[in-house]
Symmetry: C2
Subunit: 272 residues, 2 copies
C-alpha cells in the first residue's frame, strides 16, 4: 500500500519534469520572440556605426581560436552578422535551431563582396553520422538524448589568395604538399560554411562550437564587446592628455594597411 503510493508519486514526479521542460521551452520561445524584435532595432543602430563588427570580433577573445591568423584579413571584411531563430517563424522548430547570416565587404582583385547564410539544426538521430571513427558510445547516448548541432553546406566565394588551399581547388590530394594544403584549407574560416556536423575529424574542426559561440554569445552580447573595446581604447590613451575628438586608429589585426572597400578603419573613442 505504502509502496504503491511511493510508486505513484515517482510517476507524478516524472510527469512534473515534463511540465518543467515544457515551461522552459515555452519561455525560451517567448524570450527569442521578444529579443528578435529588439535585435531588429539594434541592427539599425549598428548600421550607423562604421567598423562595429570588426571591433566586436577583435574584442572577443575566443573567436580568434576558431580562425587561422591568415583568415583575419577577411574576418575584418565582415560588415554585418545576424542570427535569427527558426522557432520565431515556425513554432514547431527546436528553439535551438538558428540561421547565421554574414555580410562580407570586397577586397579589390582578391575577394568578392557577398552575403552568406548558414542554418544550424538540432538532430537526435546518431545514425546520420557519416564518419564514426572518433565517436564513443557515450557520445551517441548523450547526442541521442540532448541532440547535436548539424548544418547543410553553404556556398561561399573564397578569396583568390587562398586558391592554393581552397579544398575544392586542391585536386592533387596524393602528394604530401597537396594533403597539407587541403588540410590547411579545411581549417580556414571559409571551410566552416561547408561544415555538416556529420563528419567529425573530416571537416572544419569544432564547427558547432563556432556556431554556438556566435549564436549564444557574440551576437547577443555584441554591444557589451563593442563597449569593452572602447573602454580599453580609452584606458590605453588615458595618459596621452589628448581629449580632442580625433579619430583613433584601431590596430589592424594583421598589420597590413589594406582595408575592405577602402573604408576608414578608425573608430571614435566613445562610450555606448
Amino acid at each position: 500500500m505504502e509502496e504503491d503510493k511511493v510508486s505513484k508519486s515517482l510517476e507524478a514526479l516524472a510527469r512534473v519534469e515534463d511540465e518543467v521542460e515544457k515551461a522552459e521551452r515555452e519561455t525560451e520561445f517567448l524570450r527569442l520572440k521578444k529579443l528578435s524584435a529588439v535585435y531588429l532595432n539594434r541592427k539599425e543602430a549598428i548600421a550607423g556605426i562604421p567598423g562595429f563588427w570588426k571591433v566586436v570580433l577583435s574584442q572577443h577573445s575566443d573567436f580568434a581560436n576558431y580562425v587561422r591568423a591568415a583568415d583575419l584579413k577577411y574576418i575584418d571584411c565582415i560588415s554585418a552578422i545576424e542570427v535569427t531563430w527558426l522557432c520565431v517563424e515556425d513554432e514547431k522548430a527546436d528553439h535551438r535551431d538558428f540561421t547565421v547570416t554574414i555580410n562580407f565587404d570586397a577586397i579589390d582583385g582578391d575577394f568578392e563582396s557577398q552575403t552568406v547564410s548558414k542554418t544550424f539544426r538540432i538532430e537526435h538521430d546518431v545514425s546520420k553520422f557519416i564518419y564514426r571513427s572518433k565517436r564513443t558510445e557515450e557520445d551517441d547516448l548523450r547526442d541521442e538524448e540532448l541532440g547535436f548541432l548539424t548544418s547543410t553546406p553553404t556556398e561561399i566565394k573564397w578569396p583568390k589568395s587562398f586558391d592554393g588551399i581552397n579544398p575544392s581547388l586542391v585536386t592533387d590530394k596524393t602528394t604530401s604538399e597537396g594533403k597539407r594544403n587541403y588540410r590547411t584549407g579545411m581549417k580556414s574560416f571559409f571551410s566552416w560554411f561547408k561544415w555538416t556536423g556529420l563528419k567529425p575529424g573530416k571537416e572544419f574542426p569544432n564547427g558547432d562550437g563556432l556556431a554556438s559561440l556566435i549564436s549564444e554569445d557574440l551576437y547577443p552580447n555584441c554591444t557589451k564587446y563593442y563597449t569593452e573595446a572602447q573602454i580599453d581604447l580609452e584606458e590605453e590613451n588615458v595618459d596621452e592628455d589628448d581629449e580632442s575628438d580625433e579619430p583613433l586608429q584601431l590596430e589592424s589585426s594583421d598589420g597590413e594597411p589594406e582595408d575592405c572597400d577602402g573604408k576608414q578603419k578608425s573608430v571614435k573613442r566613445r562610450k555606448v
Copy 2:
C-alpha cells in the same frame, strides 16, 4: 555630419540595450510564474516520497561545503524545502528576490520540529554594509551595478546539543574557548538563518552562495539529483544479483543510527 550620425547610432544602441534588459526581465518573470505553478505539482509528488530531500541533499556535492560535518545530523531532519519568487506575487519585486522555506523534523529531546522561512532580496545601496573592512572599491562598484543579496535574520530553534556553540548562548566571548565556540557556532548551518549579507567576515560565511545554490540549483534541479542518487544506488548494487524489492539502507551521513521522528531512512531502488 557623419560624426553626428555615429553619435546618434551609439545613443540608439544604448537604448536597445535597455530594451534587451527589459525583454530578459519580462521573460524571467514569465518563466518563474510558469515554473511556480509546476513546482506546486512537484511539491505534491515529493510529499509521497519518503526521504526525498535527504537523498537530494546528500547527492548534491557542493551543498556539503556550506555545512559543518556536525550539522549533517540535522540536515537529515529536513523534510521539505520550498523556494518562492517574490515577483510571482508582486510584479515590482526584483526577479532575483526569493524566500526559502525549510521544514525540519524533530529529534526527541534534542531538536524541535519547525518550519523556517528566510527571504533574500537584491540590494544596490552599498552604504548599507555594516562591516566594510573586507570590501574593495571594485566590490562596491560591482555590487552597485549588479546588486548584491541581503536578508533579514530569521529565528530558528537550535538543537540542544549545540548549546555550547549557539552564538546567542555563548556569553563569554573574552576567553579563547569562548571565542572558539562562538566562531564555530557562526559557521554552523543554523547561523545561516541569521545571515544579513551586510556584515562580511562577521557572520555565516558565503551565506549568499548557499542561498543561490538552493534557489538556482538545488531546488530547480532536485528531481535530477534524486534520480542520480537512485542510479548510483542501482550501480552500486548491480553485482548483488538481488533484483527483489527489498528496501535499500541509505548510508547515514554521520554513521549514527538515530533518525528524525524514528522514520525509516530507507529508500526503494527506483528510477524516476
